[in-house]
Structures are given as structure tokens and as C-alpha cells.
Symmetry: C2
Subunit: 149 residues, 2 copies
């Protein structure tokens, strides 16, 4: 198979495959007489595995490790489990972070009174809160000013 064929089969692109080769995630393939990359079924399997793991959000380094682990058939799969769990942990953390973010944004947006910029609560809420002392915040907005591009 040439690079375009394997790319279609693995649902990816030639550029990505060459990139994977460059960073050592895929072995350097055989070459045809015309210097085209010539891939085997093993190459396709390795690439497909890598793509699937990437789609699940594993980092390139994690994919590399998973591929390496897969080579030792007698080894315990505990390390595989550990990598998956670690990744799951990261995903959960990201979800929590984004959920907090969503709450903040929703609070921000819910304050919009659809007036002018001068009384915009969203911008207010983003502002440095140094001079919000006791009064309502509308009074000293010149504290920050944008100058143009």
C-alpha cells in the first residue's frame, strides 16, 4: 500500500502518517522502486491502533507506551490499565474544570442587562476589582481603557 491508501484505510492523512514516522511512532516503511513508501498490513494495524488511541485522547507518548507494552505478550497488563486510568483521571479533571467554567460563564451572561458598554455587567465582572469598594460599580469605568490596534 502507498501512503494515500493506508491513510484512507486508517481514516487519517498522509501528512499525519509522515509526521508519525518522523517522531518515531511508526517505523520507517519499505520503499518502492520509485521511492514511494510501501506499507504492510502490520503497519496498517499499528497506525489504526495509534489513531484509535489518539481519538480517545491518549497523548502521543501514551500511545507510544501502549504500543511498546503490546509487544511483550507475557507481560502483565497492569501498566496498560494504569495508563488508561491515568488518562481517565485527566479527562475527569478536565470535565470538572470545564463545568466550573460553565457555571462562571453562565453567571456572567445571566447578568447582561442589554444596555450600553458603559453599563455592561459582563465587562464589569471581568474587570480588575480594585475600585469596587463600597459604591455601585458604574461610576469609575475609565479605570481601564483600550487604545486601538
Amino acid at each position: 500500500m502507498n501512503i494515500g491508501e493506508i491513510a484512507r484505510m486508517a481514516n487519517t492523512k498522509p501528512e499525519t502518517i509522515r509526521y508519525y514516522e518522523r517522531i518515531g511512532l511508526l517505523p520507517t516503511p519499505a520503499r518502492t522502486a520509485g521511492n514511494y513508501r510501501d506499507y504492510s498490513v502490520q503497519d496498517l494495524n499499528r497506525l489504526t491502533f495509534a489513531r484509535r488511541a489518539r481519538d480517545l485522547g491518549f497523548s502521543i507518548d501514551q500511545v507510544r507506551t501502549l504500543l511498546d507494552l503490546g509487544a511483550n505478550r507475557d507481560h502483565s497488563c497492569a501498566s496498560v490499565d494504569a495508563i488508561a486510568r491515568e488518562h481517565l483521571g485527566e479527562v475527569k479533571r478536565k470535565i470538572a474544570d470545564l463545568a466550573a467554567l460553565r457555571r462562571e460563564l453562565e453567571a456572567l451572561i445571566s447578568q447582561c442587562r442589554h444596555g450600553t458598554i458603559a453599563e455592561c455587567r459582563i465587562l464589569e465582572a471581568l474587570k480588575p476589582n480594585q475600585d469596587i469598594p463600597r459604591q455601585a460599580r458604574g461610576r469609575k469605568p475609565a479605570a481601564w481603557r483600550a487604545e486601538s490596534t
Copy 2:
């Protein structure tokens, strides 16, 4: 204020501030006799605003727009609202993608039987499904893009 002081006050780093200046997010500041950057309170406010917006996940471009919008006090704040809503939409989409991912990972991990690599279900599940008969079972979650923040 020199760059280190303003950095501490805005809870960021000199490198970041110089970067913001380079990309035009912050204006070029005054300079001292010794060619040190010399920041005003306005600079600090602008930077603090930018950092807060960035912490809430707004892109640099969105921050730039928000800052520009903030300059026209008479303008309607509808565009500010729109940007915030758009960002909220992105955040929600990301949360949904990550939630799908989490379910897949949990399914993967729950299959681990703690045996050898040869019988590892996690690796199995990641493998090219070329010998999974006729059921087209190749779906993947929405192509989510991992990112840092």
C-alpha cells in the same frame, strides 16, 4: 512599575506580558532611562482584564475584541454578550465530548481482567477491528481536540 512588579500584581509572568505586547494585546509601555518597561495603572488594568478573560477560557482573539468593545462606552453590549455566549457554547460542547470520552474509557477499563498483555482487553478494544465480523462497530467519539489552558 517594571515588568516583574506588574507580573506579580496580575498573577502572571514577565514572559507572558512581553508576549502579549508582541502580539499587540497590550500597548508598548513607556521606558525608563535604563530601557526598562515602565507600566501605568491603566496597563495593569488592561493586563488584569486580559488574564481574567483568559482564565475563563476566552481566546486571545476574543480578549482582543472584548478589550476593543470596552473602549466604546456608548456602544451596545450585545456583542459582548454574544462573545460570552459563543464561548459558553464551546465550553458546553467540550464538556459533552469529554463526557462521551469518559464513558468510553470507563468501559475500556472495566474490562481489564488483570492478566497478561496477550489477553489484555484494553489493548484488544483499541486494536484495529478487522476481525470483528459484520457489525459495523467502528464508531468513535466526536473528534475532540485536547488542549491546554
